[in-house]
C-alpha cells in the first residue's frame, strides 16, 4: 500500500481508534473487573474475590437465576434450531429455484424484522397473542423469538448459498443423484459453515433479547435478561455483575465460534 494512502497514517487515526475502543469496551471491562470485587459496593474496590460467582450459584437469588437460565437456553436452542431450518429452506427457495413471482417481496418479508423497531414488534406480538387468546408463557416467548431469529439466521446462510455455485448440484445430478441426494450430499455439507454461523447468531440474539421477551412473557416466567433486569430494579449488587460477566463469556465464545467456522468454510472452497 502506498505510504500516503495508508489509513494508519491519517492524522488523529490513533486517538480516534483508542477513543472508540474505550467507549465500546470500558463498561464491559469495569463490569468484569468489579464482578471479582470483595466488597458489596459496586464503586469501591475491596480486594479480589470470587464470592459473587459463588453467590450466583448458591445465594438466595440462585434458584430464580437458575430457572431463568434454563428458560433462556431452552428457548434460545429451540428458537435458533427452528429459525435455522426455516432460514435454510428460505435460502434454497431464494437461490436455487430460479425466478418466481413475488421473489423480491419474499426477500423483503424475510428481512423486514431487521428493520422494524423492536418495540413495535414487541407491542405487536403482545397484541397478537392476546387477540388470538394465547396464554402468555414460555411458548409465546419461544414463538416470538423464533420469528425475530429467522432473519438473523437467514443472513449468513443466504450469503453462503450465494457463494456456492449451483454447478456442484448439477454435477451431483449428472452423477445420478436425485435432487434430494444432491441437496443432502453436496449442497448441505457445503452450506454447513453458513448454517452454523446462522444458528449461533440466532442463538445469541435469542439469549440476549430483553424487550420483546419482557412484553410477551407470562407472569412469573423469566429469562436471564428479564431476571437480571428485575433484580437490578431492586438495586445493583455485584452478583449481577458476575452473571453479566458469565453471559458475556458465553456470547464471546459463541461469536468466536461462529467467526471461526465461517473462516474455515471460506478457506475450504
Amino acid at each position: 500500500m502506498a505510504r500516503h494512502t495508508d489509513l494508519r497514517r491519517f492524522t488523529g487515526f490513533r486517538g480516534l481508534t483508542i477513543l472508540c475502543l474505550v467507549l465500546l469496551y470500558a463498561p464491559l471491562v469495569i463490569v468484569a473487573v468489579y464482578s471479582f470485587n470483595d466488597s458489596a459496593s459496586i464503586t469501591r474496590w475491596g480486594g479480589f474475590s470470587g464470592k459473587w460467582y459463588v453467590d450466583v450459584f448458591t445465594g438466595p437469588e440462585s434458584p430464580k437465576f437458575r430457572q431463568a437460565a434454563v428458560n433462556s437456553f431452552v428457548i434460545a436452542i429451540g428458537a435458533a434450531t427452528c429459525a435455522t431450518i426455516i432460514a435454510t429452506a428460505a435460502a434454497v427457495a431464494m437461490h436455487r429455484t430460479g425466478r418466481f413471482r413475488g421473489k423480491g417481496a419474499s426477500i423483503a418479508l424475510i428481512n423486514l424484522p431487521l428493520m422494524v423497531p423492536e418495540i413495535v414488534t414487541a407491542v405487536a406480538s403482545l397484541i397478537f397473542f392476546i387477540t388470538i387468546g394465547f396464554t402468555t408463557g414460555l411458548l409465546t416467548i419461544f414463538i416470538a423469538h423464533l420469528v425475530f431469529c429467522i432473519p438473523f439466521a437467514y443472513l449468513p446462510i443466504s450469503a453462503r448459498m450465494q457463494s456456492v455455485p449451483d454447478m456442484y448440484e448439477q454435477a451431483a445430478m449428472d452423477l445420478y443423484a436425485t435432487p434430494w441426494e444432491a441437496f443432502r450430499l453436496v449442497l448441505l455439507p457445503l452450506m454447513i459453515p453458513g448454517i452454523l454461523s446462522g444458528f449461533l447468531l440466532a442463538f445469541i440474539i435469542s439469549l440476549d433479547d430483553f424487550l420483546i421477551t419482557n412484553f410477551v412473557k407470562g407472569a412469573g416466567i423469566e429469562t436471564l435478561p428479564t431476571a437480571i433486569f428485575g433484580s437490578v430494579k431492586q438495586g445493583i449488587k455485584p452478583n449481577i455483575m458476575a452473571i453479566s460477566t458469565l453471559l458475556l463469556g458465553v456470547s464471546v465464545v459463541f461469536v468466536t465460534l461462529s467467526w471461526l467456522i465461517g473462516r474455515a468454510g471460506q478457506s475450504r472452497t
Binding site: P165, M167, Y168, Q170, A171, A172, M173, D174, L175, Y176, A177, T178, P179, E181, A182, L185, V186, P189, L190, R268, T269
Partner: protein
C-alpha cells in the same frame, strides 16, 4: 456392437431462452465410440446443446434420442450420460476417491465395489496416489483428470466434455489432448467434446460439427472440414484461407467450371448446393504455387512478407485489388519475392473449392 450405430441422435433441436434462440433446429448423429467435437465461436450454442443432452435444459422443439429412445421425459439423474464440467465442479468436501465413487454409489454399488472400480479408473488417469486428497490440494491438471475419472467411472453411454482443457496452460493442454484421445479409444465411450479451438478439434476428433449462431454449418471428418468446407463460415473459421470472388459458369456432378478474378478459367470441386452465377471459392494459402507471371497463371503483386520460421507468408494483391495470402515452405530459398514484384500464381488442381454461399 456395430461401430456405426448411433449413440445420440439430435433431431431438429430448437432451444429458446425467452426471446433469445440459442439453437435453431440443430441435427446430428453421434456414433457409438466416436470422438465427436462441437466446434464454434463463443455464443454459438455449444454449451446449450450439451446441457440439453445432459438434461439441465429442456428442448423447446425437436428431440434428443439416446440409442433410439427419446430422453425428454428423463431428468438429468436418470440419463446415462456424464459430464466433465468446464470448471470441473469437483465436490470440495470429498476426497478424490469419494468424488470418483459418487456416481457409482448413487447407482447402488456397494462401498467396496465402488471404491474398487474407482481405483481402477484413477489408475487409468494416473492419479492412484492422490485418492485420499481433496480437490483443493491438487493442481489444475490433476483436478481435470479427477473430473474425467469421476465422469468415466459409472461407464456412461456418452461422455460430454465442455471445454475441459480451457483452464489449462498451453503446454499441459497439448499433453492432455493426447491422453484424452487415448482414454477415449481405450474406453470406447462416445465423447462429445466442446471447444472453440480449431487446432484441438482437428487433432483429436473423429468427426467435427462446426456450429455458428445456433446452427450446424457442417459435419465431417477433420480432413473433410478442412479440405472440403461447405461454406464461407467453415472455410474461414477452420485454418486460414483465401475467399475469392468468382463467376460460376456451370456446376454438375460435384464439379464446377468457373472464372477466377481476371477471367482465368478453373475447374474445381463444388460444395453441395453451389449454383451458377456469382460465388466464392476457398483456396488454402499453402496450396498456391508461385512462379513468374505468364499464361495460365493468376497475376498478383507482392505487398509484404512475414517470416514464420517453418513457413514464409506472402501478402499479395490480385490485379482487381483483392488481397491474397500465399504460404510457402521455408526450404532455404535464397530470395523471397520482394514487395512490389509481380508473381504468377498457380492454383493446384483440387486445391480450390467452390462454396455453397
Amino acid at each position: 456392437m456395430d461401430q456405426h450405430s448411433v449413440a445420440v441422435d439430435v433431431d431438429r433441436v430448437v432451444k429458446r431462452y425467452g426471446t433469445v434462440t440459442a439453437l435453431h433446429g440443430v441435427s446430428m448423429d453421434i456414433r457409438q465410440g466416436e470422438f465427436f467435437t462441437l466446434l464454434g465461436p463463443s455464443g454459438c450454442g455449444k454449451t446449450t446443446l450439451l446441457r440439453c443432452i445432459a438434461g439441465f435444459e429442456d428442448v423447446s422443439e425437436g428431440a434428443i434420442r439416446l440409442k433410439g429412445e427419446d430422453i425428454a421425459p428423463l431428468p438429468p439423474h436418470k440419463r446415462p450420460v456424464n459430464t466433465v464440467f468446464q470448471q470441473y465442479a469437483l465436490f470440495p468436501h470429498m476426497t478424490v476417491l469419494e468424488n470418483v465413487s459418487f456416481g457409482l454409489r448413487r447407482r447402488g454399488w456397494s462401498d467396496r465395489d465402488a471404491s474398487g472400480r474407482s481405483r481402477e479408473v484413477l489408475e487409468m488417469v494416473r492419479l492412484s496416489d492422490f485418492a485420499k486428497r481433496r480437490p483443493g490440494q491438487l493442481s489444475g491438471g490433476q483436478q481435470q483428470r479427477v473430473a474425467l475419472a469421476r465422469a468415466l467411472a459409472p461407464g456412461p453411454e456418452v461422455l460430454l466434455l465442455d471445454e475441459p482443457l480451457s483452464a489449462l496452460d498451453l503446454k499441459l493442454r497439448q499433453a492432455v489432448r493426447v491422453e484424452l484421445k487415448q482414454i477415449q479409444r481405450e474406453t470406447g465411450i462416445a465423447f462429445v467434446f466442446v471447444t472453440h479451438d480449431q487446432e484441438e478439434a482437428l487433432t483429436m476428433s473423429d468427426r467435427i460439427a462446426v456450429m455458428s449462431e445456433g446452427r450446424v454449418q457442417q459435419i465431417g471428418s477433420p480432413r473433410a472440414i478442412y479440405e472440403a468446407p461447405q461454406n464461407r463460415f467453415v472455410a474461414d473459421f477452420i485454418g486460414e484461407t483465401n475467399l475469392l470472388d468468382v463467376t460460376v459458369t456451370s456446376v454438375s456432378a460435384g464439379m464446377a467450371e468457373l472464372e477466377l478474378p481476371g477471367g482465368l478459367p478453373l475447374r474445381c470441386p463444388a460444395a453441395e448446393g453451389a449454383v451458377q452465377g456469382a460465388g466464392h471459392v476457398s483456396v488454402r494459402p499453402e496450396r498456391i504455387a508461385i512462379g513468374a507471371p505468364g499464361a495460365g497463371t493468376l497475376p498478383a503483386t507482392v505487398a509484404d512478407h512475414v517470416y514464420l520460421g517453418t513457413d514464409i507468408q506472402l501478402h499479395a494483391k490480385l490485379d482487381d485489388g483483392a488481397p491474397i495470402l500465399v504460404r510457402m515452405q521455408n526450404a532455404g530459398q535464397d530470395s523471397v519475392p520482394e514487395a512490389g514484384s509481380r508473381l504468377g500464381l498457380t492454383i493446384e488442381a483440387g486445391a480450390a473449392r467452390l462454396l455453397a454461399d
